[in-house]
Amino acid sequence: MLMALDVVAPALSGAIQGAVYGLLGLGLVLLYKSNRVFNFAQAEFGTSAAFAVLFADNGTGPLPNLPLPLAVVFGLLVATGLGLLTERLVVRPLFSAPKVTLVVATAGVTLLLISVQGFLAGAEPSVLQPLFAGDVFDTGSVRVTRQQLVIVLVLVVLAAASALFFSRTRTGTAIIAVSQEPTATSLVGISVTRTSSLTWGLAGLLGGIAGILLSGSTGFVSPGSLTGLALIPAFTAAVFGGITSLPGAFLGGVVIGVVEALAQSNIPKDVLPGSGRVVLFVALLSVLLIRPAGLLGKEA
């Protein structure tokens, strides 16, 4: 039986889901650009931030009962702190180690963060209210919430801002210089360790923004929830758009989100179960085989 293809609704929801992937992918691109490493802990910076918002908002444990905006600031601080801590305790001792070692270490950080979240909150999902309640529009088949609109806007602004940061500011240029030639960079007076701290702190912050917005949008947070929901598509999006290109993360995210949603809503489960993942795999393989630099990436 041939069904009419279901296009408009999944494409729209896919694009919004893709914005989430792109937001997470932004941090991945930042760390690849600056450290030449895939950071598997990126999503967990986000989940930790979402938990921090939840705890601060509820006044759990020793925390005072903060109003939501302050709780969000607290969550972002936690995420940034986690980025800095990861850099100091794991990345810096492994500075001259092979990159594979560093990638394994970030996977270790992921596991550790998930278990700490588990220590504090348990395995059951906790309910998290969206920061921005209400819908932009809801036609029955298509529904866009305010939170989703904010995610898209934040992604556009952040992608543009961080692209400008790398191309226009001295600090951004210094980060690129360190990634290309650490020894020469320190010879001209740029502190390699401070640059490294800065990038990991920024990556933590980006992860935190993504985590708080996404968890508010799905309405729950549980240990490792972001890794499970979005890390792999975010990686695929980042590679698809060009792992060194910040606007590429945005574009890749949207493309991956749309294609994934179209596949899931049009390929029946009994023909091919898990079609979303198959699409991710095919997209990743084909982009790496045909154009390894990605849509907008260049070898730099």
Binding site: P98, K99, S115, S275, V278
Partner: protein, 392 residues
């Protein structure tokens, strides 16, 4: 026996070498002659009795011991990719799953003889590895980690859910033949496969392929300049690794008796990488020990000194809050694994292998050198294994 024992090339941790030699010259050791083999033989016989008689005879141990053997085979398989070739595979649970389903499907649905299911499992997993490797190994750098990761998840979410092969959510049964019903016997059966895997691994390292792999791990460009076909040898290693993982998958299927697709997720892949790295990349014994440890960790946390340590830690960290204490106990194995991994990478790059080296050296007839147990960062950097390092 001469006073100064020449350390076998590459077996001694970098920092310990010269010091030990100097110390031996300064303070000549007593010579025991052939008598020194007596305590070593006693220890070896005790270990053999424990592994071959005591564990299979003890009902509570044998099922977990079988798990340990299966994990050890997976560890050895992953070690070929990470430890020898310097690539990172995060999709090995996919190959294990392919092996498990291939064995279960061919035994239960196609009614293939029991022995042949192992050949089918190894073959099919090897084909998957070969095809994935053909595509992925042409891309250099860290991308293999990403592709294998997505590959594993795709298998879990898609192929392992196709009802015709995997019986959907109900799972594909894989019943052991009559003579292996007993868990003790099944453990010995798995142990035999582990010995076989060790032999394959040993032969691999001592072949032209093994030397080529170690060379290309050190530096791909230099290896290529010496006429080594980098992609071809990586592909051989990856395929062999897939075959071993497939055999482990078949054993896994018979161990639990029914295979379901949901068990082969991302965290299993992480556990596999974790146990291999903590064991000590590139070192056969270390990898086997690391893998067995993570396999029996749930058992150790049921009843052992580790259980009491876990409860004590949970009690202190939770400040008396019962809910938090339960959470800590639930997530304890994961936290322990992650901490061990990070500690290994940052402080003890040689892994467990480095920690047991004084004992294994002693068993080989050398004096006991306790200083090799101390943390040290060798000049060759983290990931150092037998005088070499893992490279992207």
């Amino acid at each position: 026996m001469t006073a100064v024992v020449d350390p076998p090339v590459g077996r001694t941790p970098p920092a310990a070498g010269p010091d030990r030699a100097a110390e031996a010259v300064a303070r000549p050791r007593r010579e025991f002659g052939p008598v020194r083999w007596v305590p070593r033989a006693v220890v070896l016989l005790a270990l053999a009795w424990w592994a071959l008689v005591y564990v299979p005879g003890t009902f509570a141990y044998s099922a977990f011991a079988a798990d340990a053997c299966i994990y050890a085979i997976i560890g050895l398989s992953l070690n070929i990719v990470i430890g020898y070739t310097g690539q990172l595979s995060l999709g090995h649970q996919g190959f294990v799953g392919v092996g498990a389903f291939a064995a279960a499907y061919s035994l239960t649905v196609q009614e293939v003889p029991f022995a042949a299911t192992f050949v089918i499992a190894a073959g099919l997993a090897a084909v998957f590895a070969l095809v994935l490797g053909l595509v992925a190994l042409r891309i250099t750098g860290l991308y293999l980690a990403l592709i294998t990761l997505v590959f594993g998840l795709t298998l879990e979410g898609s192929l392992f859910e196709i009802p015709r092969f995997t019986n959907g959510g109900a799972g594909q049964p894989a019943d052991r033949p009559q003579f292996l019903f007993d868990d003790g016997r099944f453990y010995l059966f798995c142990l035999a496969f582990l010995v076989l895997a060790c032999y394959v691994d040993y032969r691999l390292l001592r072949s032209k392929t093994g030397r080529a792999l170690l060379a290309l791990k050190e530096n791909e460009r230099v290896a290529e300049a010496f006429g080594i076909n980098v992609t071809a040898f990586k592909l051989i290693a990856f395929t062999l690794s897939g075959a071993l993982a497939g055999v482990a998958g078949a054993l896994f299927a018979y161990r639990i008796g029914i295979v379901t697709g949901s068990g082969f997720g991302f965290f299993l892949a992480l556990t596999f990488v974790l146990m291999t790295v903590v064991g000590g990349l590139g070192d056969r014994l270390g990898v086997i020990m690391g893998s067995s440890f993570f396999a029996v960790l749930p058992f150790l946390l049921e009843d052992s000194p580790l259980k009491r340590a876990e409860e004590a830690i949970a009690g202190v960290l939770s400040f008396g809050d019962a809910g938090t204490e339960a959470n800590i106990i639930q997530f304890f194995p994961q936290a322990l694994g992650a901490l061990l991994l990070l500690l290994t990478l940052v402080q003890f790059p040689g892994g467990l292998a480095q920690q047991v080296r004084p004992f294994t050296d002693w068993l080989k007839g050398e004096p006991f050198d306790a200083r090799a147990l101390l943390p040290h960062r060798g000049s060759s950097g983290p990931g150092t294994v037998e005088g070499s390092s893992v490279r992207a």
